[in-house]
Amino acid sequence: MAELRLDVAVPLRAFELRVALDVGAETVAIVGPSGAGKSTLLRAVAGLVPARGHVRVNGDDWSTLAPERRSVGFVFQDFALFPHLSVRGNVAFGGEPGDVLERLGIAHLADARPRELSGGERQRVALARALARKPQVLLLDEPLAALDPHTRDTVRVELRATLRELRLPAIVVTHDFVDAAALADRVGVLVEGALVQVGRADELISAPVSPFVARFAGGNVLHGHARRADTLTSVELDDRNVIVSSDDAQGEVAAVVYPWDVTLSRALPSDSAQNHVQGTVTSIVPVANRMRVTVGAVTAEITAESAQRLQIREGDLLVASWKATATRLVAL
């Protein structure tokens, strides 16, 4: 059973990074503000920074091993490809490439030098290089940050598929919650060296433990299938509801809706420019002076007064409404 168990402490400038986390054959995304210690966490697992505590992988204790003796695949933020080696040379540096070049679709680039490649291609080479080693643990530091928006979408899709295929314990560090939700099974929010919440993406949205997490976690992520229809895109969600978005997309998508863009009402509004989804109230969580109310698959953030006025109670049937323009579509 592939497993990474870590409990590490690393002193940083203003605070100490202290994280205890168990990662199975899954991908865990670590999100948080810059400076929270996300990259340091990855480096501690890889052994690149000294850390107190322990790192155990599949029963082996890595805590005293030098980085070169740990079976990690590390994808660096700027890819860190060796400029003087070809793609094949880079990938083979860690071990026999096998068919990893073909699997990641870069076999045709085998003789190219890194400086000749596009951002997306470099990312794939970096990943191939990390995988050629047949690592037991995968560590990715901001894998999409160095890419332009268009490439990001394509690469996000590929990376998600690859991670699912590999079934290795993987930790992905990112500052973008939507990336985290798309790539990972679980998401942890790291603030000033401590994990304030770890759970599925939708849990973080529906039940954030703090306003910070609430703000940081960003929006509802609804899975569905998109089709273009006139000026708008219609998305059939997994639960058969259909919503529209002013974004352009086709095929499998994640529709992102921010809780504060969602209004709640008892009756179906007559405004056709909006999305309306009816559902049962499954949770009501106060956050500061507002309320996070989960209706069906959508969590809304409304003022305490509105909640009071509507007299919301768990189990009530409500309608969640938001604009088509407030619906971001992210390709999956």
Binding site: R43, L48, F82
Partner: protein
Amino acid sequence: MKVLFGAAAAVALTFLALPVLAIFLRVSPTTLVHELNDPVARDALVVSLRTSALAQALVLVLGTPTAYLLATRRFRGRNVLLTVVELPLVLPPAVAGIGLFAAFGRTGLLSTSVPFTQLAVVLAIAFVSAPFFMRTAVASFEALDPTLIAAARTLGARPWRVFVRIALPLSAGGLGAGLALSFARGLGEFGATIMFAGSLQRVTQTLSLAIYAEFARNFDVALAMGAMLVAFSFFLLLVVKWLSFGWTSPFRSVPSSSA
């Protein structure tokens, strides 16, 4: 402003080029070639070539790992060691000669029979020219992207492999340039050599020493040797510049934004 800057540049460049040009203008090419057949000149050339080659090989083989350690490890006393490595730079050559006696002379700390031998020339050249190589080598290794080193380690490379397959190839240009400087300094070495190794034709008399010995006796031979030294140094500088240019341009760090 352009006029001022241009004038300053003209003066500076003329000043630097003139002594070199004058050597070649003063003696005709035929005389030059004829004088080069003088046994003093030929012997001096052989001594210079042998001792320089050996000295620079010594500097390269011992200096490269030292520079790597100094550049990549942080330890107490590192700054002191860096200063020690640069010391010969500020030592007047004659003092360097005395120092070599004090260390390796018969009456020195490690009593050896090195003085007055060709090995003494090699040591003197290595001593005064090493700092030129070390400075550039340390800077080259320090300029290595630490993320590349980290990446190599996460790919299972032990320190030796990191050094040979990542650090060396990426620093080759800098090392080459440093060696060029070191070589040039070594060719011109005089003070420490004449003290510690003495001057004896065919054994320890390098081109520099021969020029000094001959200029009062046979000026034309001295001039010819001077011309030879200049041509040699110029050629050398060109070759290594080309080498380091050919090595560094494809290896400029890869930009992080997508192409």
